[in-house]
């Protein structure tokens, strides 16, 4: 049994957001991410942050879980923000030392980068905590269906996606077990220099690769034994049904976009 919380892991609750069609959730979150990239001003970003906060509340998932999703990325965000702060130019220069400049343009760039990173990561976490991975794969397949016309093997791509998603928790468990087995043999994964740690990790990676390949082979054999035919027509066990509430969700996104445009005009007006 695994004893760690995996980034963006599905958290079942009885929220309205959870009960949406996975395609609706995917659409809503993708739409939101597009808006995040279009936002350039403080007002727009505040509006989007407000919407995200509301989405997070609606999912009924404890905020701590979102924090778990954000934490692994904290260093990347901090690094990018600092680079933006010190190396961007434009606007008024407040302070400089050698190649480092602290400018008003840099500060607003850094703020923008920070907002984009946080909002996009949290939005995708909203999607993954509220949607079981296999449903997400189904949604991607359903949305990609039109591509069949241009001979994209949609069924096979989505099968690969489903298999990949299905085995993420299995592989996490496996990593934990192998790490424990090596810890029991005295391996200390959290001590020593970076180089030493990387070298010690070989004792986890090799067994992990070996078992993953074995598993892949077994899975392929099992699929063959059940007469799997890549281009065969197959029906679904879990059917996706687009309901009224899914239209409501998409409609609310349209409202969010209107609000976004209002913020945009407001921003131009005060400048």
């Amino acid at each position: 049994m695994n004893n760690r919380v995996v980034l963006g892991m599905y958290v079942p609750t009885n929220s309205r957001f959870h009960s949406l069609d996975p395609r609706a959730k995917l659409l809503v979150v993708c739409w939101y991410v597009v808006l995040v990239f279009l936002a350039t001003s403080l007002v727009e970003n505040l509006w989007l942050a407000l919407i995200l906060g509301m989405m997070m509340v609606i999912t009924k998932v404890p905020f701590r879980m979102y924090w778990h999703g954000l934490k692994p990325m904290a260093w990347v965000i901090a690094f990018t923000v600092v680079v933006q702060l010190l190396f961007s130019s434009g606007g008024i220069t407040y302070w400089y030392w050698g190649p480092f400049h602290l400018t008003s343009g840099g500060i607003s760039d850094a703020g923008l980068v920070f907002a984009r990173f946080t909002l996009v990561i949290l939005a995708s976490t909203v999607l993954t905590v509220a949607t079981p991975p296999l449903q997400l794969a189904d949604a991607v397949e359903s949305i990609m269906k039109p591509l069949k016309v241009i001979h994209v093997p949609v069924g096979q791509v989505s099968l690969m996606l489903s298999i990949a998603m299905r085995f993420i928790p299995t592989i996490f468990d496996e990593v934990e077990t192998i790490m424990n087995a090596q810890r029991a043999r005295g391996a200390k994964f959290d001590e020593g220099s970076l180089f030493k740690r990387a070298k010690r990790f070989v004792s986890v990676l090799i067994p992990l690769f070996v078992t993953s390949f074995q598993r892949a082979e077994e899975l392929a054999t099992a699929m063959d034994a059940r007469d799997y035919y890549p281009n065969g027509k197959r029906t679904k066990y879990r059917l996706l049904r687009w309901q009224k509430r899914d239209w409501v969700a998409v409609g609310l996104m349209a409202f969010v976009t209107v609000g976004f445009l209002v913020c945009h005009w407001f921003n131009i007006a005060i400048i």
Partner: protein, 292 residues
Amino acid sequence: MALCTVKLNQVDFTYQFGTPFAHQALFDLSLKIEHGSYTAVVGPTGSGKSTIMQLIDGLLRPTKGTVSVNGVTVSPSSSLRQLAALRATTGFVFQLPEKQLFAETVIEDVMFGPLNNGQSASAARENACQALQQVGLGKEFEQQSPFDLSGGQMRRVAIAGVLAMKPTLLILDEPTAGLDSQGARQILELVDRLHQQGTTILLVTHHMEQVATYADQVVVINHGRLAFQGTPRKLFADRKLLAENSLRWPAAVSFDHALRDGGVHLPGPVSLSLDELADKLATQLKGRDQDE
């Protein structure tokens, strides 16, 4: 009073504590394992046996209560380093231990543990050779790749990797799973030999025959609680306890019970092995011959 190697004091353990996935695996569990004993740990799948073993090896931190092994005690507030100290004198053979093999040659893999414990390369090599001999793998295996060996041989290499660290307490989690009967017997005989040389043994198993033949103590775990601790003879004499914990009887025990139910008078407590039962029956029959 014999020395206690392992002491669990009112231990609770919850997986993913403080998250929506929290799942309590152990409830107020107290347990003592005496130094030099051979203890079998039995119970249904998912009853918490493996969790207990991982607590004893310092791979998990108790949520409540304390765990002591060979004089080192950890509590919920202990650091990772303190947990690691539990491992110093403990060897843990995991389920399907051949999954942990990684090195290019057998000898390098077995040396991994001793080297991690800070031994010099020559001392580690010496211990590794010795451990390989103990598991019955000769010099010719040392330079082979562990991935070229058969399943049973891989398992023995993995066990050698633990023995090379010279543990005084050896935990084995179903070491015979998936082996043929000969491979299983070799491993059990090896464990028995280690026990006779003074190693304390903790064996997690589903085979009641192994419990009856080798163990001198049994611990029964059910739903994360201690259901029984005592000698195998006491456990197998208690039919209600066996049924409650869905434990199977060894062949000798069911014969013994069936004979007694059928009105055959057998002397003494329940027999643990077929030989013992046969001896009892033989004296019984002889006695009757003399009476007639």
